[in-house]
């Protein structure tokens, strides 16, 4: 892979992540201007290719592309010939032939963006593939956390998160946000612990370099950040847990639990939230919650990713 495709956080390494954060700093400034637009990607076309629906992420990428003055194209399978039996490969090759410069791909199947990247000339950004990864989410989470830690300590944002203890709580097993998050937070030096019942944790995390815990209250005594994942109701049907009530009681970030947290502990959630299930409404909108900043920072971080993908081609 010679292009700077972003299929996994691992494609960036620590240096790449820091590069994205720095670019995002610049783009955050651009976004504050009365005219939040730069001509950097003028003449380029960015296609959002969402085989799996997601309005928020798609809009965030489209806004990012437009602020870079790129042209955008939206592809949604429901209205395309994909339903007429055309294969995934044929579909993306058609888009590629139309001359798009980048494809932002979301798919319900893990690995689809990687497969696509082997077939097309365009650059590929993974906007979420099955349970595998959601790299831009992890990047905007790092950006947001870095910003919050700097604000709290009254200094400029650092380029690492060393010393931060982050607990990722919930259905890690099925979470692409968690997989990307583990890679990104660790690359920046944070310490991680995954919390959930054994049925909702990945079968083998021995080589991930993270702690594992099944008791949320024990973990909460000693963390700096609680990253709450959403829970899908299907997990009950799959025999992975008995009831939402029991899940909430054992692993929900309830207001009582939040009250026992140290005052400087931060709370994050990738959204959308099911208030009252994995997190209480009060906690989600409390001052320690970074959820709004996460959403806000998404555009600047995605601008950084698109810029890095399309602006770094060098005439050889």
């Amino acid at each position: 892979m010679t292009r700077a495709d972003l299929l996994s956080v691992a494609d960036l390494g620590r240096e790449g992540i820091v590069q994205v954060l720095h670019l995002a700093d610049s783009f955050a400034e651009v976004s504050e201007r009365p005219m939040p637009k730069v001509p950097a990607l003028r003449g380029r076309t960015v296609a959002t290719v969402f085989f799996e629906a997601s309005t928020r992420t798609r809009l965030s990428f489209e806004a990012a592309a437009k602020r870079l003055s790129a042209d955008t194209m939206t592809f949604t399978p429901a209205t395309s010939s994909l339903t007429k039996g055309e294969s995934m490969r044929d579909t993306v090759e058609t888009l590629d032939a139309m001359g798009v410069d980048a494809m932002v791909v979301r798919h319900a199947s893990a690995g689809a963006p990687e497969q696509i990247s082997r077939w097309v000339r365009a650059g590929v950004v993974n906007a979420g593939d099955g349970q595998h990864e959601h790299p831009t989410q992890a990047l905007l989470d790092c950006f947001t956390l870095r910003e919050a830690l700097a604000a709290r300590e009254g200094r400029a944002p650092a380029d690492d998160l060393s010393g931060a203890r982050i607990a990722i709580v919930g259905d890690v097993r099925h979470s692409r946000v968690a997989r990307s998050g583990v890679l990104a937070f660790r690359a920046l030096g944070a310490e991680l612990v995954l919390v959930g019942p054994p049925t909702l944790l990945p079968p083998d995390t021995a080589s991930w370099g993270v702690g594992i815990a099944h008791d949320l209250d024990e973990v909460l005594a000693d963390v700096d950040v609680v990253y709450v994942l959403r829970l899908q109701v299907e997990r009950i049907r799959e025999c992975l847990l008995p009831s939402l009530h029991e899940y909430s009681a054992r692993f929900g970030l309830t207001r009582d639990r939040a009250a026992r947290l140290r005052p400087d502990v931060l709370v994050m959630h990738p959204g959308p939230m099911v208030r009252g299930l994995e997190i209480d409404a009060e906690v989600a909108s409390s001052p320690r919650s970074l959820v709004t900043r996460q959403v806000h920072n998404g555009v600047a971080v995605r601008m950084a990713v698109l810029f890095r993908l399309l602006a770094r081609e060098v005439a050889s």
Binding site: G111, G130, S207
Partner: protein, 475 residues
């Protein structure tokens, strides 16, 4: 339609004969489809065609216990004709065709239809019947009717028989019929829709995995049923260390069980899935290097008596779908011997390394083929035993021809005067690149595409007819 055996004389010269009796330098003279002489040097009479086998191994033709020929039903992926040609290129003179066609082979009529289609193919095609009607797992298929047509192996392959009660009755009913039931061990509830091995790699890749016990639990259950019923059983495509151990113990206890493993389970691990290429998606899935080493040990100590390809053709577009929706399976007839040779006789590093892919920082480092602990290397006799005469015996293809049944019989050797001339001439030194465009199979889903292998079939003789000469099919 029987292919008339031509009254030509043919001499295979300069090779090393390898069969159940051992290894020796010898030329082989063939007339009218049978071997007439096996001598250190033969000066062939005038009018004899000569096939050069210098530097080559001359072994009995290979027998594949487990091939999917896809006809009837999925001729876009493979036909009996193209599959047999692929088999011949791989040194096979006989294959057992799996019954998961559309319609499935679960009746005498279906058996007859396939046998008719297979007459004239360049490898002999024996037919396996289903254990249950429609392979649905509820009702027994008519074993005796199908056996009367020569069917000897029965399996619902593609699936395992989920219901223990049904399996018990099938084994009991089958006992007096001289047939063998073969099981694809996969407990669907434990497998839970996973489509790669459940382990470190599946956790990292975010792919629902299938744990090894999905295979081992059914295997253990069926071994207990064998003990109860006394009927023989054959276990298809073993893939895990636990499975090998279970079969080893069962055989040590004297139970009538046999087992097979595929070339890919002898050489590839779940790390290959790191690039999400569906060509590596297969059932049972590729597992860890410990499992691969255990399967190799199983072949080396005879626990796993046969190597079988599980040749599973799929149209190219279907393997270009996302990993979760792509069908599982790999073709393998043309590469089986080379891959098995590399894995067992060359110490496992014969070029079958993983393709590159973004494996990520978490989890496994690069799969370390070359760091495998030293294992005894198989001899050529052991290699060809597993590829030729042991599967021939399990499938009943070693027996002499019976009218109406196998057209030629006599597969698996030994290479001796009087035997039917089914031969595989194998050059163990040639290095070649697997090219899917030059293969005979209609499908291209091989995990070894564009890889280099060492060892290649040079000639294949089926009942004295040279169906492959210098790695080119003759028809």
């Amino acid at each position: 339609m029987n292919v008339p055996l031509e009254a030509t004389r043919l001499c295979v010269r300069g090779g090393a004969v390898v069969d159940a009796r051992g290894e020796r330098r010898a030329d082989v003279l063939i007339e009218a489809g049978r071997i007439v002489a096996v001598e250190r040097t033969i000066d062939p009479p005038v009018g004899t065609s000569v096939l050069d086998a210098s530097g080559c191994v001359v072994a009995p033709g290979l027998v594949d216990l487990h091939t999917h020929l896809r006809e009837p039903g999925s001729e876009d992926a493979e036909t009996i004709d193209s599959g047999a040609r692929a088999a011949a290129l791989g040194g096979y003179t006989a294959v057992v065709a799996m019954p998961n066609t559309e319609p499935p082979i679960d009746s005498a009529a279906a058996v007859r239809a396939v046998l008719a289609l297979a007459a004239g193919a360049c490898a002999e095609v024996a037919v396996a019947g289903a254990i249950t009607v429609g392979r649905a797992g509820d009702q027994l298929a008519p074993f005796a009717e199908m056996a009367a047509l020569g069917v000897r192996v029965f399996t619902d392959d593609g699936r395992g028989v989920q219901h223990a009660g049904v399996m018990r009755r099938a084994l009991e009913y089958a006992r007096p019929l001289g047939i063998v039931l073969a099981q694809h061990c996969e407990d669907e509830q434990l497998a839970a829709g996973g489509y790669m091995h459940e382990g470190a790699w599946s956790s990292r890749l975010g792919v629902p995995g299938q744990p090894a016990i999905a295979e081992e639990a059914m295997l253990a259950r069926d071994i207990a049923l064998v003990r109860l019923t006394g009927s023989p059983m054959h276990f298809l495509h073993l893939s895990s260390a636990g499975s090998v151990e279970l079969v080893r113990a069962a055989r040590a206890a004297g139970l009538p069980v046999t087992a097979e493993a595929t070339p890919h389970h002898l050489s590839l691990t779940d790390a290959e899935l790191c690039g999400y290429d569906p060509v590596f998606k297969v059932n049972p899935p590729l597992r860890t290097s410990d499992d691969v080493l255990a399967v190799r040990s199983g072949v080396l100590d005879g626990t796993i008596g046969a190597i079988a390809t599980d040749h599973a053709p799929h149209p190219r577009e279907s393997k270009e779908e996302p990993l979760d929706t792509a069908p599982p399976g790999m073709i393998g007839l043309e590469t089986a011997l080379a891959v098995a040779y590399g894995a067992l006789c060359l110490g496992g590093d014969a070029g079958a390394g993983p393709a590159s892919g973004s494996g990520g920082e978490i989890g496994a480092g690069a799969p370390t083929w070359l760091a495998a602990p030293p294992m005894r290397r198989a001899s050529l006799v052991e290699l060809f035993a597993a590829l030729s005469w042991v599967p021939a015996r399990i499938a009943g293809l070693d027996a002499p021809a019976r009218p109406g049944f196998s057209t030629t019989g006599g597969h698996g050797g030994p290479i001796a005067p009087g035997a039917v001339a089914h031969l595989c001439v194998f050059d163990p030194t040639v290095r070649w690149t697997v090219s899917v465009s030059r293969g005979a199979s209609r499908s291209t889903n091989t995990p070894f595409a564009s890889r280099d292998l060492v060892g290649r079939v040079r000639h294949t003789l089926r009942a004295g007819e040279a169906v492959v000469v210098d790695a080119e099919p003759q028809r």
